[in-house]
Point group: C2
Chain length 198, copies 2
DNA sequence: GACAGAATAGTACGGTCGTACTATTCTTGT
DNA sequence: ACAAGAATAGTACGACCGTACTATTCTGTC
């Protein structure tokens, strides 16, 4: 059997864990609450992970895979250059907009929570966000090499700005619940890219 | 006596509470931990507030006053128009940069934490962020009326973008601890304002 | 300087947390 | 079908949580 029963259960636990984590936090998410949410016993659920930290790490890993599937992979089918930058940003915003996680972007939520808590969980979150930013920066460089964007601009700064718009729409939507911010972000990104055409 | 002993103690409790809240969160911040941090007894500290929610509300109020003193008030001395917009953004970034709170902007941190938790604490945080954004938007409108910024641009969208840059620098600094992001944000804001000159 | 009331401390309680440890039920390969 | 082992449940424990209630100490006023 390719997928054992334990792995299936484990996956459904992590699905619930990631969802709850974006709404209530990765730490307030208690074993008991999660057991209740999945209809399991506390100890039966706990046995899959061995410690709360392992559960948190596995949850981050699960969310990372989902992020890649929702944002990175789809954009990889777009041609290199401007088209791929746009696809990355558009999918990033769409991933917040469609509420892939009920509390918005998993990494935006958990990075604020684990900012000041050293440990493997924080490290993994930081690494994931770092790799998103550098992937975006790399896409900008490709567009510059293709002659689609001003080669004198700093790719790092452009990536910083595009990400800032997407992040702001996620944060403000979670607070104000007004989907207009997603349009604001998309327009800001398009205008910024327009302004960088050679 | 203008300031009774109780009020002085209460203030020093709130100062510690706001600091810890940005690092660990407003909810994980327990009465016992806070009592330990301030050298008081649990019950002695608790008596000042009556409930944990009241403590949280008072902490938010304290942080709001500090934010106004650090960001809004200084910018009010700058002349209306572009200068004031810049002063607002610059002080906003400086307030994160100088670590007025050890965990960065208080409202960025707590808004993610209370996003999905209805109640007066969430309401107060939302109101504070809303008022910051509308104050910034108002400053943009004044600059437009003064003929310093393109009057056809949407003031709301411009405020969205400027805030996005400042927020991104706060978030990324907390994660990566590289102060360069503050320069990135300031440059992004200046360039954006430049590009909107009539 | 004593008295009233504010400020602080002490103690106790029920609840939930993470996590051992043991017992039971279910899956799966033969 | 049955043994072996994986998966799940049951129970217990110490720690800390928020909060009541009571006792003590301190402050400011006459």
């Amino acid at each position: 059997m390719l997928e054992t029963k334990g792995q299936r259960t484990r996956n459904s636990i992590l699905e619930a864990a990631a969802a709850v984590a974006t709404e209530e936090g990765l730490d307030p998410l208690s074993i008991g609450r999660l057991a209740e949410a999945t209809g399991m016993s506390k100890s039966g659920l706990f046995a899959h992970f061995g410690s709360k930290e392992e559960l948190q790490l596995a949850t981050v890993e699960y969310a990372a895979a989902l992020f890649v599937a929702e944002v990175i992979d789809p954009a990889r089918t777009a041609p290199k250059g401007l088209a791929r930058i746009w696809s990355l940003c558009d999918h990033m915003i769409g991933y917040a907009e469609r509420q892939v996680f009920p509390g918005g972007c998993f990494f935006a939520a958990t990075s604020f929570e684990f900012n000041n808590r050293p440990g493997p969980v924080r490290d993994r979150i930081e690494e994931m966000i770092r790799s998103w930013l550098s992937y975006l920066e790399h896409a900008v460089e490709q567009a510059q090499e293709a002659g689609e964007l001003d080669p004198n601009a700093s790719a790092r700064e452009i990536a910083f700005q595009l990400d800032a718009f997407a992040q702001a729409s996620n944060a403000q939507y979670q607070l104000f619940r007004d989907p207009q911010v997603f349009d604001d972000a998309r327009r800001a990104i398009q205008e910024r890219l327009e302004s960088l055409r050679p």
